[in-house]
Amino acid sequence: MVRSAHLMMHSPLFDLLIHFLMLSLLATGGAITLAPEMHRYMVTEMGLLSDAQFTASIAIAQAAPGPNILFVTVLGWQAMGPMGALATTAGVLIPSAGLAVMVNRISRQHSDAAWMRALRQGLAPVVIALMLATTWILSEQWWGEFRILALAVVSAALVATTRLPPLAMILAGALIGGLGLLDSV
């Protein structure tokens, strides 16, 4: 069915919407676990964005208030403008939102049920692996650029060991970058 829809409506925007609709229910443990797949589709396969644009989208979303899923909106906007933002955001949200409302009505009392604990605990290692995979994929553009990688590593260590507010760290990153401290020249 999806295949024939592709053939009928041969627009990149429609493809983008379909792809994000399909990804929605795979978003285990939050939207950032989708980043590797979005990178594969938008940067590697379709060439809609550059590596730098993709990573900048995540940085911009983290610098703004609100849920982290906003990086998906920024990705869509950068790839195809307002309609792109609408396609990625609606695509990634609608299926999982529908499911959340349905489950909410069925199982308000069952948050302790074994299957739900199994879901959370079983998927936790997958979620962690996907977050680290995201880091890996996004860092590849900086291989050999020692200072940039060092800043990323220090940030990771600070997040893992302190309670520093993420916004303060991102602003510090903007300052460090703005002063030209990351340029290898």
Partner: protein
């Protein structure tokens, strides 16, 4: 006793206020406002609802918003809570994006974004590491995690395939372990 939202617009603005206060994570603020300030749910209720929100696909905070909205005003409430959580933040983040795009040719923009990007990538790794520290109890998880990392990061395999091959068995295995008396994890807390 818990309170209820006065109206759909009360729901909308409460979630908007929540979203606007959350830089790099809205959940702690959601708890403060929903449980303590507005008292729309008890602490226990919050934890239980969050547990379901975490088990389902999609962002935890978005699922939680939908479930709270749905509880008070049905589907309209769910939509309103979601809109509250997303609408104004979207406007703000797109404002930043446009600012980035119109100044993209400037050297200073490129440099600042490079610094922000490096920190952002570090943030994601740091969050992953923090979560990893809570994972001692599920030994097979380390193997599964390593396999997922290899397939996604190095071999660039599609996510759907990887989840089917490793996520599903991990859940089944964990279900079997829990049934046979494995301990609760701290990830649950």
């Amino acid at each position: 006793m818990t309170e209820t939202p006065r109206s759909l617009s009360d729901l909308f603005w409460t979630f908007t206020r929540m979203a606007l206060q959350g830089f790099g994570g809205v959940l702690p603020i959601a708890e403060r406002i929903l449980v303590h300030r507005r008292q729309w749910m008890t602490a226990k209720d919050f934890v239980e609802t969050l547990a379901i929100a975490q088990a389902l696909p999609g962002p935890n905070i978005v699922n939680l918003s939908l479930m709270v909205g749905d509880r008070f005003f049905g589907v309209r409430g769910a939509a309103m809570a979601l809109a509250g959580m997303m609408l104004l933040p979207i406007v703000l983040v797109l404002g930043l994006t446009v600012l980035y795009q119109v100044t993209a040719d400037l050297e200073i923009t490129r440099r600042m974004l490079l610094g922000m990007s490096a920190v952002s990538v570090g943030l994601i790794a740091g969050m992953g590491l923090r979560l990893a520290r809570t994972q001692g109890h599920f030994r097979a998880g380390w193997l599964i995690g390593a396999a997922v990392f290899l397939l996604v990061a190095i071999l660039h395999k599609p996510l759907g395939m990887v989840l089917l091959a490793f996520g599903l068995p991990a859940v089944v295995l964990r279900w079997w372990q829990l049934k046979n008396g494995a301990q609760r994890s701290s990830y649950d807390a």
